[in-house]
């Protein structure tokens, strides 16, 4: 299914959800209301004509003034994919989890939390995943400054 058709189904069934539909980029994306991400995800998964059954990735992007949570969904049956974006505040980025709708999101959300500090409310096990538990800060933020040392191990380049 083409992106346009998906868009039509989306605005028809979930009015007010989509804030923006951008087709100028190489891959089109939808900016959805961050409060309604669960609704959108569940709808995309269950709609018989869409059936986005696989979540490929949850990504966080630091845009400077705001954060973006990006969801890549695809349908194995129909072969089409969508990219959803939710804009979050930079001060306290937080969005509802979709890990109960897509179990695949579990680790991706943990990683996004770990590296960017986006809090996924309702996540069953929101811990750091790649970095040690006592790591300070979220490295993928643009304003992150790498610590000089970690537990006495120097971080300075050779």
């Amino acid at each position: 299914m083409e992106a346009k058709e998906i868009h039509e189904i989306l605005i028809q069934h979930l009015p007010g959800c989509v804030r923006e539909f951008r087709t100028t980029t190489a891959d089109p994306f939808w900016v959805v209301e961050s409060e309604r991400i669960r609704e959108v995800a569940a709808f995309l998964k269950d709609h018989p004509a869409l059936q986005f059954d696989m979540l490929q990735a949850v990504t966080g992007v630091d845009r400077g003034e705001c954060f973006e949570a990006v969801y890549h969904l695809t349908s194995l049956r129909f072969g089409h994919s969508v990219t959803l974006k939710a804009v979050l505040s930079h001060e306290a980025p937080s969005i509802a989890t979709i890990s109960d709708i897509y179990p695949a999101a579990n680790w991706h959300e943990r990683e996004t939390y770990d590296l960017l500090g986006i809090v996924f409310t309702g996540h069953p096990d929101l811990r750091r995943i790649l970095l040690p538990d006592d790591w300070e800060g979220h490295p993928l933020r643009k304003d992150y400054v790498a610590p000089e040392s970690y537990h006495g191990i120097s971080n300075a380049p050779d």
Binding site: A26, F29, L55, A57, T59, D62, V70, Y102, P103, I129
Partner: protein
């Protein structure tokens, strides 16, 4: 008396240094005797902030870093990254370069699956398959020697083409290898795949039903082992794959249930054969022409974003790249197949034996360089 004995579940750390955790993966097992009740994987021991590095180096400079993601399939990673950048910057790649990339990727897929064959056998307790797998892998690695001058971190693809042209001698060496691979493949099966001990160890172990596999976002041989015929090379055709004739191999439950460890293993074995087939076709149909196109030395990519999916040996390798007009990506997200595949471990490795956990882990075939990035 039996009732009065104190029994308790114990927690055992499998890893980060353990012979069969494929690198530095730590699994915490909750065991009741030999029975494993729960497995919690802990990752991150090999975390090298690849995504942060990507933001600090230019598009061209990040290419050698992608070698080190899934270090057993560098050529596939290169391919993914090159395609992502080319898509963002709208660079046309000469046809010959596309075919050469596919050739490298498929050879690397064979090498990767061979290693998987070997280590899987080793985890089952058989040492010899490991050496046989490595012997053939060594031939591929030597071919890569000639092709790009490196044995592990190939850095073969370049943005806008490939590093070097295929010489006739290398082409001959590849053909020789492909013929030998056909012979060896039979031997492999006699030694391991059909061995009843091995079959008993892997069949009906760690069954992943198709719906669970999809829900957890599994891709590659793990997903296909569950009987889902999903291959990015067919689903979202890229490079020259539409022009090639090959099959998507799926698990059929030949020795047990669909989606068990043996099926995942068998899908890899079948894919070796398919890749051999693809390599032959590529060598036969390799178009003439330049192998590189001119790309500015400082490649400034206009603001854009793309999610490029390729089929790496372990599944869907996705590069989600956001460019901002400079020569460095604003954000690069690497959707690593092993990362997603590993996330199901806790779900399927329950109520099985310690030995089964090893086999399940082996059949998922993770590469920690990719999981931790």
């Amino acid at each position: 008396m039996v009732q009065s004995l104190k029994t308790d579940e114990i927690l055992v750390n499998m890893g980060p240094q353990h012979p069969s955790t494929h690198g530095v993966l730590r699994c915490l097992l909750k065991t009741d005797g030999e029975w494993v009740r729960e497995v919690w994987p802990y990752i991150g021991y090999l975390h090298r902030c690849k995504e942060k590095i990507a933001e600090k180096v230019s598009y061209i400079q990040f290419m050698p870093y992608t070698d080190r993601l899934d270090y057993l399939a560098s050529a596939n990673n290169n391919l993914g990254w090159a395609m992502a950048v080319e898509r963002l910057a709208a660079i046309e790649v000469p046809e010959r370069a596309v075919w050469l990339r596919v050739l490298a990727a498929e050879l690397n897929r064979i090498a990767s699956h061979l290693l998987s064959y070997g280590t899987f056998g080793m985890e089952a307790g058989a040492f010899t398959p490991f050496f046989y797998g490595f012997r053939e892998r060594e031939t591929i690695v030597s071919i890569f020697d000639q092709l790009c001058g490196a044995r592990l971190t190939y850095h073969y693809a370049r943005i806008g083409g490939v590093m070097r042209d295929l010489s006739p001698e290398t082409a001959k060496a590849i053909r020789r290898f492909l013929d030998e691979m056909d012979r060896r493949w039979v031997e492999y099966n006699t030694l391991l795949s059909d061995n009843e001990i091995f079959v008993r160890r892997t069949a009906n172990v760690g069954i992943i039903p198709a719906d669970l596999a999809i829900a957890y976002g599994l891709t590659g041989p793990v997903l296909r082992g569950s009987g889902v015929a999903h291959d990015i090379r067919k689903a979202v055709p890229y490079a020259c794959y539409p022009k090639l004739d090959f099959q998507v191999c799926i698990g059929q439950g030949l020795k047990g249930t669909v989606g068990d460890s043996w099926d995942r293993y068998w899908v890899r074995m079948l894919e070796i054969r398919e890749s051999v087939k693809i390599c032959r076709q590529v060598l036969d149909g390799l178009p003439e022409g330049p192998y590189q196109t001119k790309v500015p030395r400082i490649l400034k990519v206009p603001a854009n974003e793309a999610y490029v999916r390729t089929e790496a040996p372990r599944g869907e390798l996705g590069f989600y790249v956001i460019s901002d007009g400079t020569d460095k990506p604003w954000r690069c997200r690497i959707r690593a197949p092993s990362f997603c595949n590993l996330s199901i471990l806790n779900r399927i490795a329950r109520n099985c034996l310690v030995a089964d956990v090893i086999m399940i882990l082996g059949s998922i075939d993770v590469v920690m360089g990719e999981v931790d990035r």
